[in-house]
Symmetry: C2
Subunit: 300 residues, 2 copies
C-alpha cells in the first residue's frame, strides 16, 4: 500500500493552521502541526512544539519528520505589536523562514514548500506602512530568491483578508463575537470602528486552504499565487450583512480619522489557472462565523 | 573645551575600515573600531572585539561607547562564500544591521548612522545573481525602511568597486600583488582572468571615506548616496595601466565564459550635491596599490 503524503504545517494551531490541519487530515494525509504551545490538541494530527527562531530547533523538526510538503503559516502577525517589537516581527517572519529554507536545502529529498505572505506586504518602490509589512515583504522576497538561486521547490502564496469560523482576530470575527454576546443578554451590539468605508478583499479560510491543496499538487515552482475573492467590500457592507443575520440592532460608532491602508486589487489569475474557484459565499462565511460564536457562548 | 565627535566604526580592521579609522583619527575624532579579532592594533584608535550577530554583544558595545556617529562597514563580503553559507551572509549583513538599528532606536540621543551597501545589490524587480546580493539588498532596504518608519537618522551609502593600498581582495590588488611578487624574482607576472571586457566603476577607498565624512556632516536623513568615479573601466584597461607602471611583461590568460555581472552606471548626483569630488586619479590609485605591495615584499 502506498504511504499517504506527509505534511508539516507550521503555525498549526492558528486560524488558517487549524483549518489546514483538518482539511489535509480528512484527505488521509499524515499531518504534523508545529505549534508554540505544547498543550494544543488537534484531532488526528501529530503535534510538535518548537520555537522556529531557534535554528537548531528547526533543523531537528525537519530531520525528524522528513515531510513531503511543508505549509509555512507560522509567524508574528500583529501590525500593532510590530511597532513595539519590530525585531520580533523580522525574526519571527524572516529569520524563521530562512532557517526553514536553509534546513530543507541540505536535504536529499526536498519537500515542496508553500511560504505564506500577506495582503499587507508592500509593493516594490512603495514605502511600507509598518514593520509588519517590511517583515512579510522580506519573507516572501527571500523565498522567491531562494527558489531562483538554489532551484528549490518553493511556492509563494499571498492570501487576502481571511475570514471564517475559528480563532481569528479579524474584524468580521470581532463583530460576530459582539453580536453573539449581546444576543445572549438581549443587549445592543455596539462597536467602535475606525473607518467604515475601508475596503478589503475578504475570503473564507476554507477556500484558501483548498487553494494551498491545489498549489501543493499543481503549483508552479517559484511562482507567487495571489488568492482572494476579487471583490472589495467596505466595513459598512460587512455590518449590513450581519444586520440581516441577527435581530439585535447593531450600533456602530465611527471613530478616528480614515487612515486605513488602501490595499491593491488581488490578482487571482494564476490561482484560477490551477482550477481554483471560491466556494464559500461572503454571506455564508459571515453566517458560519456568527454561528461559531453563538455555539461558543452556548458551551460557555 | 568642546569634546571631539565620537565615532564607532564596525568592520574597523577591513579594507575601508582601516582607511576610515586613519581618516577620522587624523581629524581628531574619538574613534572606536569594532573588530572580530581582538589582536588588531590601529594607531590612535580604541579597539573592541564583538560578534555583531549576537544581539547582546551589539547592545553592550553601543551602550558602552554612546557614539555620536556610527559607520557600519562590518559584514560578510564574499560572493563565493555566500553560495556555500548563505545563512551567514544574511545573518552577517541583515541581522547584524537589524540589531544595530534596534539598539540605537532605544537611545535618547541617537547617533547618525551610515549603512554601507554594495554595488552588487540588485535593483528592484531584477533577479539577484547570488545570495550575497540578496543580503546587501535586504540590508539597505531594512535601513531605508527603519529611517522612514521610525524617523531615525540613518543614511545609506552604495560605493562602487573600491581600490587602493591596503588589505583588499579586489582584482586591482590581486594583479599588483602578482606584479610585485614577480618583480622581486625577475619572473613574469601571469594571471588568469575570467573576462577582460568586464567593466567596473573603480574608486579609491580614500575618496569614499571622504564621502562618508561629508555624509556625516551634511548628508540627508533617509537618503541613499551612490558613490563612484562615474567611469566604467574594463579589466584590460586595468592591465594596460599596470603595464605602464612595471617593466615586467604582464601575461594574461582569459579563462571561462564571460559571465560577469553587468553593473548599472553609478548615479553620483546626490553625493556631488554635498560638494564631494573624486581626488585620486585611477592611475595614481593603481600606482599606490603597486607601491603598497612592493613595500610589503621589501619588509618581507
Amino acid at each position: 500500500m502506498r504511504q499517504p503524503p506527509s505534511l508539516l504545517i507550521t503555525g498549526g494551531s492558528g486560524f488558517t493552521g487549524r483549518c489546514a490541519c483538518e482539511h489535509f487530515q480528512k484527505l488521509g494525509w499524515d499531518v504534523t502541526a508545529v505549534v508554540r504551545n505544547r498543550s494544543v490538541v488537534i484531532q488526528g494530527v501529530k503535534i510538535v512544539s518548537c520555537d522556529l527562531t531557534i535554528r537548531e530547533a528547526v533543523e531537528s523538526i525537519i530531520h525528524d519528520t522528513k515531510p513531503d510538503y511543508i505549509l509555512h503559516l507560522a509567524g508574528v502577525n500583529s501590525v500593532y505589536d510590530s511597532w513595539h517589537s519590530p525585531l520580533e516581527s523580522i525574526e519571527g517572519n524572516v529569520l524563521s523562514t530562512l532557517y526553514l529554507l536553509e534546513t530543507v536545502r541540505q536535504l536529499n529529498n526536498q519537500p515542496r514548500i508553500i511560504i505564506v505572505g500577506s495582503a499587507l506586504q508592500h509593493n516594490q518602490g512603495v514605502k511600507p506602512l509598518h514593520p509588519y509589512s517590511v517583515s512579510k515583504t522580506m519573507q516572501v522576497q527571500l523565498a522567491e530568491h531562494w527558489a531562483h538561486l538554489f532551484d528549490m521547490d518553493i511556492v509563494m502564496a499571498k492570501p487576502s483578508n481571511l475570514i471564517g469560523p475559528g480563532p481569528s482576530k479579524g474584524i468580521c470575527s470581532l463583530i460576530a463575537e459582539e453580536i453573539a454576546r449581546q444576543e445572549q443578554v438581549r443587549g445592543i451590539p455596539s462597536l467602535r470602528i475606525n473607518d467604515l468605508s475601508a475596503k478589503r478583499d475578504f475570503l473564507d479560510v476554507r477556500d484558501v486552504v483548498r487553494a494551498y491543496d491545489l498549489i501543493f499538487k499543481h503549483g508552479k515552482k517559484g511562482q507567487l499565487y495571489e488568492i482572494g475573492s476579487g471583490q472589495m467590500r467596505s466595513l459598512s457592507e460587512v455590518v449590513d450583512h450581519y444586520q440581516r443575520l441577527t435581530k439585535s440592532p447593531i450600533q456602530i460608532e465611527e471613530v478616528g480619522p480614515n487612515t486605513s491602508e488602501e490595499l491593491p486589487f488581488v490578482n487571482n489569475e494564476s490561482i484560477y489557472e490551477l482550477g481554483w474557484k471560491q466556494v464559500k459565499s461572503f454571506r455564508s462565511s459571515l453566517a458560519d462565523i456568527l454561528q461559531y460564536y453563538r455555539q461558543l457562548r452556548k458551551e460557555g
